[in-house]
C-alpha cells in the first residue's frame, strides 16, 4: 500500500513536470522554430523563384 502511494506520487510528479516542460518550453520553442523555418523557406523560394511581385 505504502509503496503504491509513493509510485503514484512520482508518477504524478512526472506528469506535471512533463506538462510544464511541454507548455512552457518545448512547444513555444517548436512554434517559434517552425515560424522561422516557414520564413526561411519563403526566403529560399525568393532566391530560387524570384522576389515577390505585387
Amino acid at each position: 500500500m505504502n509503496q503504491q502511494t509513493s509510485s503514484t506520487g512520482t508518477e504524478k510528479k512526472g506528469e506535471w513536470k512533463l506538462f510544464i516542460f511541454l507548455t512552457v518550453f518545448l512547444f513555444p520553442i517548436l512554434a517559434t522554430v517552425s515560424v522561422f523555418g516557414y520564413g526561411f523557406v519563403i526566403w529560399m523560394s525568393h532566391i530560387l523563384f524570384g522576389l515577390p511581385t505585387h
Binding site: T8, E11, K12, G14, E15, W16, L18, F19, F21, L22, T23, V24, F27, P28, A31, T32, V35, F36, Y38, G39, F40, I42, W43, H46, G50, L51, P52, T53, H54
Partner: protein, 397 residues
C-alpha cells in the same frame, strides 16, 4: 548520455499515454492559457523587432541610415507624418514579413562579425545593400511606398506641370516608384566605381597588345599626352573614344597623329572632332596649344552661327602604351548600354538622333545632375550621343 536517453524514454512513456493524475480540464485550460501567453509574447517580440528603436540599436544603422533619413521629407514634413524604418523596409504581408525576419538573421551574423562596423566598410557595401533593396522594390512595384502613396489617390492637378507629365505617365504604366525615386531617404551609393572599372577593364584587357604603325586606335579612358617619348610632364589629355594614328613607337610610348579642329581664336586649347561641333577630343595646356612644333595647320573656316573661325590642326604627340581599342563599335556598345541603364532610370531616354551634337552638350549637362557618372563614362556617353546625333545619323528627326 545514458541518463538522458532513459529520461527521454520515460518522458515519452508519460507523453504517449493518457494522463492519470492531471485532468483533461486542467490540461486544456493550461495549454489554452499557455497558447494565449505565447501568442501575445510572439506578437510583442515581433512588434519589438519592428520598431525603429530596435533597428538603430545597431551602431551602423544609427550612424548611417538613420542619420541620412533625418534630412529628408520622410523624416519631417508639413503634414507631420513620417516613415519609420520598417514602414519601407519590412514587408507588411505576414508571410513575406516572416521571410524578411528570417533573412534578417544574416544581419545578426553581420553584426557579430562587424561586416559594416566602420564608415568605410559601410560605404564599400552601400551599393550592394542598396541594390538588394532596389531589386526588392523593383519586383514588388514599390509596394511599401504605395501603402501610403497610391496612384489612385493622387490629385495630379495639384502637381507642378512638369511633375504632372511624369506622374500621369507613371500612373498609366503602373510604374514602380523607385524606378525614378532612388536615394530619396538615404544617400545614393557612389556608382562611379563600377562605371570606372568598365572602361578601365576594357583598357586593361587590351594592355600588352602590339601596335601596328600606320593603324588607327581609339582611347578608352582619359589618356595623358606627352611631348616626346621621355618627358614625364603631360601636355594634355585625350578624352575616351578619340581616334589616333600610330606613326612610331619607342620604348613604352607611341607617337600618334591626331587630326582635329580647334577654334582659331584665343589659345585653342580644346581640340574638337569636327568643324564647329562641340565634341571634345582632347584638352591641352596653354603652352602645348601654342607650340607650333607640335601641330600642322590645315583648313580654316568660319562658323556662320557663332562667327568664330575654326581651323583644322593635326597634332603629333606621344601616349603611353596602354590598352587601346581598334574597333570603335565596341566602345559605342558600352556607351549605349551605359546610356540606356543610367538614363532610363528616370524616363524613357531621348533617341540619340533626336538632337544635334551641340544640343546634346546642354541636354546631357542638364540630366547629369541626377546620376553619378565618373569622368570616363560621362565623356564616352556624351561622345556616343554626339556621334549618333542628328548631325551624323541617317535616321535623324
Amino acid at each position: 548520455m545514458k541518463k538522458l536517453f532513459s529520461m527521454i524514454a520515460r518522458s515519452w512513456g508519460v507523453f504517449s499515454k493518457p494522463s492519470k493524475h492531471i485532468s483533461l480540464g486542467v490540461i486544456t485550460c493550461g495549454a489554452f492559457l499557455a497558447g494565449i501567453i505565447f501568442w501575445g509574447g510572439f506578437n510583442t517580440a515581433l512588434e519589438a523587432t519592428n520598431t525603429e528603436a530596435f533597428c538603430i540599436s545597431c551602431h551602423s544603422m544609427e550612424e548611417n541610415n538613420y542619420k541620412e533619413i533625418q534630412s529628408t521629407i520622410h523624416w519631417s514634413n508639413r503634414s507631420g507624418v513620417r516613415a519609420t524604418c520598417p514602414d519601407c523596409h519590412v514587408p507588411h504581408k505576414w508571410s513575406d514579413k516572416m521571410a524578411a525576419k528570417a533573412r534578417a538573421s544574416k544581419d545578426v551574423f553581420g553584426w557579430l562579425l562587424g561586416t559594416v562596423d566602420t564608415k568605410e566598410k559601410f560605404e564599400a557595401k552601400r551599393l550592394h545593400l542598396a541594390q538588394n533593396e532596389w531589386a526588392r522594390f523593383k519586383a514588388n512595384g514599390s509596394l511599401e511606398c504605395r501603402n501610403c502613396h497610391d496612384y489612385k489617390s493622387m490629385d495630379f492637378t495639384k502637381m507642378s506641370e512638369k511633375a504632372q507629365v511624369q506622374m500621369r505617365g507613371a500612373a498609366e504604366r503602373d510604374q514602380s516608384c523607385l524606378d525614378c525615386h532612388k536615394g530619396i531617404a538615404h544617400h545614393l551609393p557612389e556608382m562611379d566605381t563600377t562605371a570606372i572599372s568598365e572602361l578601365g577593364k576594357m583598357a586593361k584587357n587590351l594592355e600588352g597588345h602590339s601596335f601596328e604603325v600606320g593603324k588607327e586606335y581609339y582611347s578608352l579612358v582619359q589618356t595623358p599626352l606627352y611631348k616626346d617619348e621621355k618627358e614625364t610632364e603631360y601636355l594634355g589629355v585625350l578624352t575616351p573614344a578619340t581616334k589616333f594614328k600610330v606613326i612610331a613607337e619607342s620604348g613604352n610610348r607611341l607617337e600618334v597623329e591626331l587630326v582635329t579642329w580647334h577654334k582659331a581664336k584665343g589659345y585653342g586649347r580644346v581640340l574638337y572632332f569636327d568643324f564647329a561641333k562641340n565634341i571634345v577630343q582632347a584638352t591641352l595646356s596653354k603652352e602645348a596649344s601654342q607650340d607650333e612644333s607640335l601641330f600642322v595647320r590645315g583648313d580654316k573656316r568660319e562658323d556662320d552661327l557663332t562667327g568664330l573661325p575654326w581651323e583644322q590642326v593635326t597634332f603629333t604627340l606621344w601616349v603611353d602604351k596602354k590598352g587601346y581599342e581598334e574597333n570603335l563599335q565596341n566602345i559605342w556598345d558600352y556607351a549605349k548600354g551605359a546610356y540606356q541603364t543610367t538614363c532610363s532610370v528616370c524616363h524613357t531616354q531621348p533617341a540619340e538622333g533626336h538632337f544635334d551634337a551641340n544640343t546634346w552638350v546642354g541636354m546631357f549637362a542638364g540630366m547629369q545632375g541626377f546620376v553619378n557618372l565618373d569622368g570616363d563614362t560621362h565623356d564616352v556617353i556624351l561622345k556616343y550621343l554626339q556621334n549618333h546625333s542628328s548631325d551624323y545619323s541617317k535616321d535623324a528627326h
